[in-house]
Amino acid sequence: MSDDRPLYSPFVDMVGAELVEWEPGRVRWAITLGPQHSNPGGVMHGGVVATLLDEAVANAVTSLRGRDATSANPHLLVEMNVSFVAAARPGQRLEVEGRVLRLGRQVAFAEAEARRQSDGVLVAKGRFTFVIPDHRRD
């Protein structure tokens, strides 16, 4: 089963997230927050959830394009927009889901959200735009 996992990033291993579920166009990650994920105020740093939102959507685009096409010509994130809706703290567990909205020839649109596992409260929501460079023109 491991071979059909989407390509994912060393950075999410460093951050400590776990790949939970994947299917074409939809990928889910989870993370248990620790003190290393905090900002100076003691709550989760926005960069943690931004990392997982981005990872989930990038994986979801990969899952539709296929490993070979993606490896030959990786899609490139060009814009992200994230609303941080609620705080999360060390000890809490987050679930993150990324979905592809549209995969075109040159552009992919995706969205992702993060929720607290304990009560389902929305923590963050993001929209992401990727460009698929036309390497034949280079």
Partner: protein, 145 residues
């Protein structure tokens, strides 16, 4: 939800330390954070992960805001990022050395607007973004109405 912001001089951000970021300069309305790339910061194709990039941009604006609050006698007021919008102009390699500069555009009673640019140490632009923070009053968040 009283989360007092620590004294800003040398305020410690555990996540930024965790990924290897370093606060190089911070003064009211401006801060600069550097990040020396290592393979562990990579995305699936060896480029710097966008999450690491946005983390240091967010914290650069956050540190700039923290120092501005101190200057205005609001050093204990809590702050939290509520929105970020980042354009990625060019990819960075996971072993690049990056520098994020954050600036506060406007701080009013409850909201602060900021912007950040992220460049390679050689000056080439990688990303730019706008950030919005909610800011508490005194040492606490406003009461829910």
């Amino acid at each position: 939800m009283d989360t007092p912001w620590p004294a800003m001089e040398g305020a410690h951000s555990p996540f930024i330390s965790f990924i290897g970021g370093r606060l190089e300069e911070a003064r009211p309305g401006y801060a600069r954070i550097s990040l020396r790339g290592v393979p562990a910061l990579a995305d699936a194709w060896g480029r710097m992960h966008a999450g690491a990039i946005t983390a240091i941009m967010d914290s650069a604006v956050g540190a700039a805001l923290g120092h501005l609050k101190v200057q205005r006698g609001r050093g204990t007021a809590p702050q939290a990022t509520i929105a970020m919008d980042v354009s990625f102009v060019a990819p960075a390699a996971s072993d690049d050395e990056l520098v994020a500069e954050g600036r506060v555009v406007e701080l009013d009673r409850n909201v602060a607007h900021g912007e950040a640019e992220l460049r390679r140490r050689d000056g080439s632009l990688i990303a730019r973004g706008s950030f919005v923070f909610v800011v508490g009053e005194g040492g606490r968040w406003p009461r829910p109405t």
